[in-house]
């Protein structure tokens, strides 16, 4: 029995060590540094109390970046969900060549987000991109919209790239969930004369909800840390119009070297997300 115990511990020890080193050490470090006053010019390790946190409360740029992040999340997540569901509906019944379609449709998901950002900056290029050209054909005159520069166009541009990349993710999961819905229940509902929407809300939605919840959780967390696509398309610009929380943190830490302040920001992000994830995990049945 003791040998078993030793064996169990040996198995988990290396993983736990690595996770503590890379996962927990940073947390402890953040906790210490966020109460100090380290910047690029001053290595001030004296205790500053809550000064960094107070500064954060008044930093409009930080709160705006949170707002931008929430806007991206709030628009992209429902869009991806609804579009993914519609696509899944299209493919749920037998269709010739279905496996091929599905295999092709999921390709955007596995493209590196930085590459899809680069791809979409090609697409949106004001002179050499196909999007302005197509709009030009429709409008019947030359169009040179500056998609990644004009403030009213950058959000649509980024959202298109984001939704393009991740709608197939929703599609794939929801297609799997829809395929698992009990057909006999649907037939019973049809015999009872239930309409399409009634069947959808009473039978289909409850059946696919567990998978949908996991998909929303995964995508929601990904969107909250949105970085790559925005970085490739606008680097948070013009100005700070599209700066997300992740880009803000990066700029503060690695371009302006406000070490202690960045630590405070990072700590608050982790804290807020931990609360959210704990609550979400309790509701979502991940695996068994």
């Amino acid at each position: 029995m003791t040998r078993d115990r030793q064996f169990q511990t040996t198995l988990i020890a290396p993983s736990i060590f690595v996770l503590l080193l890379i996962g927990v050490f940073p947390l402890v470090y953040l906790l210490v540094v966020s109460f100090q006053g380290i910047t690029m010019t001053a290595n001030d390790t004296s205790f500053h109390g809550l000064r960094n946190f107070a500064q954060l409360m008044q930093d409009t740029r930080a709160w705006e970046s949170l707002l931008h992040t929430l806007v991206f999340t709030g628009v992209a997540l429902p869009l991806e969900l609804v579009l993914g569901l519609l696509m899944a509906q299209l493919f749920i019944d037998h269709l010739p060549g279905r496996p091929v379609f599905v295999a092709l449709l999921v390709l955007p998901v596995v493209v590196s987000p930085i590459v899809s950002g680069a791809t979409w900056s090609l697409m949106f290029d004001n002179r050499f991109g196909p999007i302005n050209q197509v709009i030009g054909w429709l409008a019947g005159r030359e169009v040179t919209l500056l998609w990644t520069i004009q403030p009213n166009l950058v959000y649509p541009a980024i959202l298109v790239a984001e939704v393009w990349q991740w709608t197939p993710f929703m599609f794939l999961l929801l297609l799997a969930a829809l395929s698992a819905v009990d057909k006999s229940q649907l037939e019973a509902a049809a015999i009872d004369g239930a309409g399409y929407w009634r069947t959808f809300f009473r039978i289909v939605l409850p059946a696919i909800w567990p998978v949908m919840a996991v998909a929303i959780l995964i995508r929601g967390l990904d969107l909250f840390r949105l970085f790559d696509i925005v970085w490739a398309l606008t680097k948070g610009g013009p100005g700070t119009t599209t700066e997300t929380l992740s880009i803000f943190t990066y700029v503060k830490g690695f371009q302006q070297f406000e070490t202690s302040y960045t630590a405070a920001v990072a700590l608050l992000i982790i804290f807020a997300l931990s609360v959210a994830v704990t609550l979400a995990l309790r509701r979502v049945q991940l695996s068994r």
């Binding site: 996962g23 090609l122 197939p168 995964i218 929380l245 690695f254 982790i270 997300l273 695996s287």
Partner: protein, 276 residues
Amino acid sequence: MKVQHRRQVTQAARLAGAVLLTVGFLFPIYWLFMMSFKTADEIYAYPPVWWPSGLQLGNYVVLFKDGDARAVWNSLVVSSLSTLAAMFLGTICAYSLARFKTGGDHLANWIISQRMVPPIAVVFPIFLLYVWFHWVDTYFGLILLYTAFNLPYVIWMMRGYILDIPIALEQAALVDGYTRWQVLWKVVFPMCRAGLFATAVFTFVFAWNDFIFALVLTRTEVTTYTVQVTHYFGGQSNFWAKISAMSVLGTVPIFIVVGFMQRYLVRGISLGAVKG
């Protein structure tokens, strides 16, 4: 007869919709790939050229001549080695969690919650740690990081796969006098071979596609292809030829790998929530 006719019409409409949708989703990828085969004149032509005159490889030749293609090699080294490390450490840890309930649900939940931490929040202190240990811009540093980053995923997925295999075989092997390690090597690993393979692919893809860790933790020596792509973004104009060629070099391997992995895709990207 009429019913059948209507069914054929809807079927045709759905097929047309599916084709249209697929073309729409693949078009940006087509544009990226095609761009990498264009000549400089075709890239900077107005109106844009929708079909390149031929498959000319000049843009790729330049990448290899300048040594920039090394970034793809770096990605390959770092992603493969970190995948091997994460798979080995993660699978044995998962076995302990699945079979002995080591640490109970709390440990398992803590591990998966590590996966949810946003990279930007931890990359900053990790960077400082790496500066301290002189690990910045080293293969070891990046491999260690991706190993740690992927461990929660591997542990979580493999725990699910191991729970799927019947415990009786392991008990029989123990009765036959196998040691615990032998059971692991000769019974458990072969039994969940498909799961190991699928999980490894996703682990590889995560490391391969990462940008933010590589951006912060590399300088010149172990720059990965994602960071290299962003080097071609200019202030005034972008180097489209290099951006597209480097992107294609980084994307083709993933497409090939995922093409073979269709069967496991759903379970992999849903963190095991869909058995698929």
